[in-house]
């Protein structure tokens, strides 16, 4: 996760309520967009919070835009995301002569026909070569142990794979999208942490 990046925040600021017949009437809020650096609080700062508030999601926000007590802050941008590439491992279970070994990726069939006297290693090598010559955005790597690994060239892009009866395939790494959310999708109310002062900081861009 990146704590050095700034992110856009929305500051919702309500004016001082007006008294009408003894009742406080909330005015129309103003909306201010600002850039801020959002940091989690550490253990010492957690202890400064009032009891009962220590299990709430609390963050620190640094910004050149003024933020005052009773402001409400909201996240604006999407969460930062990063993807993980899908990885499958295929295993040639049995070496047969003059047999078509296939690996189908995204519907594209890659075939290697084994020669007489073929071994598992030669079959794997042949399949890896066929796959890497193809146009599917998947890279095959010979593990030199009778298995070969298929890795998506584009993180976050799912691919399908199936093999013939003389092979087996397992999913090692699932294609997933990891998201880091600095500010969650909820309203944050601003409170001063007592006895805590920020004397100055450098804001990166």
């Amino acid at each position: 996760m990146s704590l050095l990046k700034n992110e856009s925040i929305l500051i919702i600021r309500y004016p001082t309520p007006t008294l009408v017949k003894g009742h406080y009437i909330q005015g129309t809020p103003s909306f201010i967009y600002a850039l801020a650096n959002v940091q989690p609080i550490n253990g010492d700062e957690l202890l400064l919070l009032p009891e009962g508030n220590r299990k709430k999601g609390t963050i620190k926000i640094y910004s050149e835009t003024e933020i005052i007590d009773n402001d409400i802050l909201r996240r604006v941008d999407n969460r930062y995301t990063y993807n993980i590439a899908q990885i499958n491992t295929c295993t040639v279970d049995v070496a047969l002569d003059s047999t078509d070994y296939t690996c189908t990726i995204n519907g594209t069939v890659f075939t290697h026909t084994s020669i007489v006297g073929a071994t598992i290693l030669t079959i794997v090598a042949g399949l890896v070569s066929e796959i890497n010559l193809g146009s599917e955005l998947v890279t095959a790597v010979d593990n030199l142990d009778g298995t070969y690994t298929l890795t998506s060239d584009i993180k976050g892009t799912l691919f399908t794979v199936s093999v013939d009866v003389n092979q087996s395939v397992v999913l090692d790494v699932e294609n997933i999208t990891e998201e880091y959310k600095i500010m969650q999708d909820k309203d944050y109310s601003v409170h001063d942490i007592p006895h805590y002062k920020v004397y100055g900081f450098l804001m990166g861009t």
């Binding site: 001082t16 309520p17 008294l19 017949k21 003894g22 009742h23 406080y24 009437i25």
Partner: protein, 168 residues
Amino acid sequence: MAYRLNQEKEDAIYDFIVASCPSATVIWDKPNDTVERPVKPYITLNVIFGPEKIGDRGEFYYKELDTFTYKFVKKFTLSVNIYADSYYLNIMNDLINSLDLSSKLSILRLKGLAIWGKQGPNDIPEVVDTIWEQRSHLDIFMSYGETVDDIPGEIQKVELNGQIIEIP
């Protein structure tokens, strides 16, 4: 906005307190308000008890077909707290006097409110941080009448089975 009574009655109570103590800011002390208190002197109002029906079962009158009107007398307690650095007892004295002044009571009567009595005043200063905050407290017992329509239905007709015996 949440009203313990209704807006009309609460506005009348507010106007009565303001007319009685014009030098102080008057606010309703609602438990869900998070705003800052106003500058002193100020008065907080809170309905701490009721409104509750008093007396035996209320009177009810026939209104129209199947409909009856019930008349209740509801009583409630208004808690008044005065916060002032000085002259808080003077402000309280003005309020207590108003409980008997017709010109002030007319504000309440126009909205159907009546004052039954009071308890206090009580001088209840409290230490806030390192200084004493002067406070004076008064409970005012008030009531109003309320009519409620109900439709319990009526027995329109009764069917009897029997014989009419000639009366000698």
